[in-house]
């Protein structure tokens, strides 16, 4: 299968992005889809299978809001489990992104590999 890494990467990040959006405020599918499809290159339709999956995993729940114009709208909000998932995944993502960044920086400056490595080690030590 081609582009597997890209697909896996986006899929993992997509869940995290939805969790982050809903952590900020409750939202409805169209808003989530249009925000995310602008930010990361993804099909808007993907949001619906994803929302159903997150719902069945107990990370989000829905409620209806009466709309002055037209039918009532389905809103999504995070459950406690969803909030915990958001915190856990955020931590994981930050650590992963920092690790990748430091590797990219190290290869970008081959002239000073020793210092870079030390810096990274120092950073790591400070975190722990």
């Amino acid at each position: 299968m081609p582009e597997t890494i890209e697909i896996q990467l986006k899929k993992g990040v997509l869940t995290l992005c939805v969790l982050a959006l809903l952590n900020r405020h409750d939202s409805y599918a169209y808003e989530i889809a249009s925000t995310l499809s602008d930010a990361i290159d993804m099909g808007e339709g993907t949001i619906y299978p994803l929302m159903r999956r997150m719902q069945s995993d107990g990370q989000v729940e829905t409620y209806m809001v009466e709309s002055p114009s037209g039918p009532s709208r389905k809103y999504y909000r995070l459950t406690d489990a969803g909030r915990r998932a958001f915190e856990a995944q955020t931590t994981e993502w930050r650590a992963f992104a920092r690790a990748v960044e430091s590797i990219l920086d190290a290869t970008a400056q081959p002239a000073a590999p020793v210092r870079t490595t030390e810096d990274v080690t120092a950073e790591r030590g400070a975190e722990q």
Partner: protein, 194 residues
């Protein structure tokens, strides 16, 4: 693609799902089109941004199948989940078959021998005392009960193993869902056959 075309293809793809769930999904996409129209986008634009309705339907059906397996663990739910995920391309059947057949065969063999041992134990238990088994009546009864216990244990073990195998397959496949790229990118290939 117009809104009616998109919805028609999505609806056709959802055939086989419980009607209530399919209605709910269709309603979600209908509202998406309305929101898009309210934001000033044309039907064609919204449909293009949504992606391939056939693939969306497969993904939704696979998710519903996996969900059902987690709720009611019976052979039909298991088959539904596995076939849904195969349809999605999350499980490559050609890679899976050589692994599945031996495992499935082994499980089935142990299961059948478990049943056979259970039946043999029953026969020893019932007939042994009357046929003058070596060691006397008590030995025959104990041996019968023991064999039946062994048969039950083997059957139970295989049931647990089978459930665990299906769980593992569903878990693996859900991990490998592919995210739809915007339909604009793959429109020519995906719709070339129309």
């Amino acid at each position: 693609m117009t809104r009616a075309e998109f919805m028609g293809r999505l609806r056709r793809g959802l055939v086989g799902m419980p009607a209530a769930a399919a209605d709910e999904i269709a309603a979600d996409y209908e509202i998406h089109f309305e929101d898009g129209a309210a934001a000033g986008r044309s039907e064609a634009e919204v449909a293009a941004a949504l992606g391939d309705p056939d693939r969306l339907a497969r993904e939704l059906r696979a998710e519903a199948g996996a969900q059902r397996w987690h709720q009611e663990q019976n052979p039909s739910a298991a088959a539904g989940a596995i076939f849904g995920l195969i349809g999605l391309g999350a499980i490559d059947i050609l890679i899976l078959l050589p692994i599945v057949f031996p495992v499935f065969g082994a499980v089935l063999a142990v299961l059948v021998s478990g049943v056979a041992i259970f039946l043999a134990g029953g026969a020893v238990l019932v007939a042994g005392p009357f046929l003058g088994a070596p060691g006397g009546v008590l030995a025959a009864i104990l041996m019968g009960v023991g064999l039946m216990g062994l048969g039950l244990f083997m059957g139970g073990l295989m049931a647990v193993l089978t459930k665990w195998l299906i769980d593992a397959t569903v878990w693996y496949a859900r991990l490998h869902y592919r995210v739809l790229k915007p339909a604009l990118d793959n429109q020519p290939q995906a719709w070339g056959r129309n």
